[in-house]
């Protein structure tokens, strides 16, 4: 499939955009990236036209038709290009995967945000809540290599993208996920070895510097 048919309206640091890029790479699809400098400048006309409701990246444009919201996009990619599959085959296992996808979307990024947005006691509470969530996910993973079982699937894609911000949380909160959740950390390492992840995941130090800039912008130093 030619590059011109798949376009992603992107932001290098966004873990949600990362999900889409990893998904496309896993399917062996070529795509064009168009970087939006959302926080630093005006939103492009294309973004405003493609995602009038949320005005946010990522947006996938497939043959010019926009799809918004990262989880919706990854499901779309899976529906449209079934191989390799991101979901298991039985409806019950698919439901379990969707349950964890929903949990990941509801909990992880906000909990991480509470860490860099707070200080002192509030931050300690935020770190505790964050670790609890990661522990819950570690329990959900069990003894499997991936959340998708033997294969890297929907939830591996969703979650590994969010871990791109973990180094920043760890640095701001002065803690290490590995100390509390070693199995989860092993899963991070396993996923990071995949070319689809290593080729697109941003440099953790650069993410940290970006979050530092956000703190300054919001007066949260």
């Amino acid at each position: 499939m030619s590059k011109g048919e798949i376009v992603i309206l992107d932001c290098w640091v966004s873990p949600f955009c990362l999900r889409v890029k990893i998904a496309l790479k896993e399917k062996g699809l070529e795509y064009e990236e168009r970087e939006e400098k959302e926080l630093l400048g005006k939103k492009s006309d294309l973004l405003l036209k493609s995602n009038p409701i949320h005005q946010k990246v990522p947006v996938l444009l497939h043959n010019g038709k926009p799809i918004c919201e990262s989880t919706v996009i990854v499901n779309y990619i899976n529906d449209n290009w079934p191989s390799p599959p991101f979901l298991p085959s039985s409806p019950y296992e698919i439901a379990q995967a969707r349950f964890w996808a929903d949990y990941i979307d509801k909990k992880v990024h906000d909990a991480g945000g509470n860490i860099w947005k707070s200080k002192g006691e509030a931050q300690e509470r935020a770190i505790k809540d964050f670790i609890e969530i990661v522990k819950q996910l570690e329990e959900g993973l069990g003894e499997r290599d991936f959340f998708g079982g033997d294969t890297f699937g929907l939830n591996d894609i969703s979650l590994i993208s969010l871990t791109s911000w973990f180094h920043a949380y760890e640095k701001f909160g002065n803690f290490k996920v590995e100390d509390h959740c070693p199995k989860f950390s092993a899963w991070i390492k396993r996923c990071s070895e995949r070319p689809s992840v290593s080729q697109v995941i941003p440099d953790p130090e650069k993410v940290y510097e970006f979050v530092l800039m956000l703190k300054k912008m919001f007066g949260l130093e």
């Binding site: 009038p52 409701i53 497939h62 038709k65 799809i67 918004c68 919201e69 989880t71 919706v72 996009i73 499901n75 779309y76 529906d79 449209n80 409806p91 019950y92 698919i94 439901a95 379990q96 969707r98 349950f99 929903d102 949990y103 819950q136």
Partner: protein, 222 residues
């Protein structure tokens, strides 16, 4: 012979009702178990250990939690009377609107617990904006969000056709009116006339009394 299907629900919950609507629409037989949320059962705690919330669907003893996940499971397991488009782009569009509806829950929650004054004016304004988006961009000129017939989006937003009227009555503000939101207003009427919906709604008076007491508790807890 269908393996046993059970729904663990709570009569005033629109989340539980969505699951019932989907099963009824597909003609799937199920046993209903009413949960006492003030004294949660072992079954609920075991079936949904992460959130300990209703609804939970049990199929052959295996639990599925989270209403949006349950609805997709029902669609995949019982393909008759499809409730999601087959085509990938249209399916993505349906999932977008289901997610939009879920994300905007807190906007309506704020209206529900607001008291007269600036706080309520803002809450009403925010809720109206969401309703306008649903009408103009979600529904468009269609009879239902699913087109000519209801689909999972209609079920996910179905609380607007019955529970929202209780909110409007309690806060004494009418938002879905034929003058302000003609198409959404028509959708409410049409949705309520779908036989499966019409026959499976909690009693309005009882629901209003229940929501009134929840509202009073929330306000006093503020």
């Amino acid at each position: 012979m269908e393996e046993g299907v059970k729904v663990v629900g709570f009569w005033p919950s629109p989340y539980s009702q969505k699951v019932i609507w989907a099963l009824k629409q597909k003609g799937v037989a199920y046993d209903y178990i009413e949960e006492d949320l003030s004294n949660k059962s072992q079954l609920l705690m075991k079936s949904n250990p992460v959130y300990k919330k209703i609804p939970v669907l049990l199929h052959g003893g295996k639990p599925i939690a989270e209403s949006s996940v349950i609805l997709e499971y029902i669609e995949e397991t019982w393909p008759q009377n499809p409730l999601l488009p087959k085509e990938a782009y249209e399916r993505a569009s349906a999932r977008f609107w289901i997610q939009f509806g879920a994300e905007k829950g807190p906007t309506f929650g704020s209206l529900f617990t607001s008291t007269a004054g600036e706080e309520q004016d803002k809450a009403a304004k925010d809720a109206l904006e969401v309703l306008k988006i649903l009408e103009e961009q979600g529904l468009g000129n269609n009879k239902f969000f699913g087109g000519d017939s209801i689909n999972l989006v209609d079920l996910a937003l179905g609380w607007l056709a019955h529970w929202f009227q209780c909110i409007e009555e309690l806060v004494e503000i009418k938002l879905i009116e034929p003058t302000t939101l003609p198409r959404l207003h028509a959708w409410v009427e049409n949705f309520n006339q779908v036989p499966v919906i019409h026959e499976n709604l909690p009693d309005k008076k009882r629901l209003l009394a229940h929501m009134k007491s929840i509202r009073e508790m929330s306000i006093s807890a503020k």
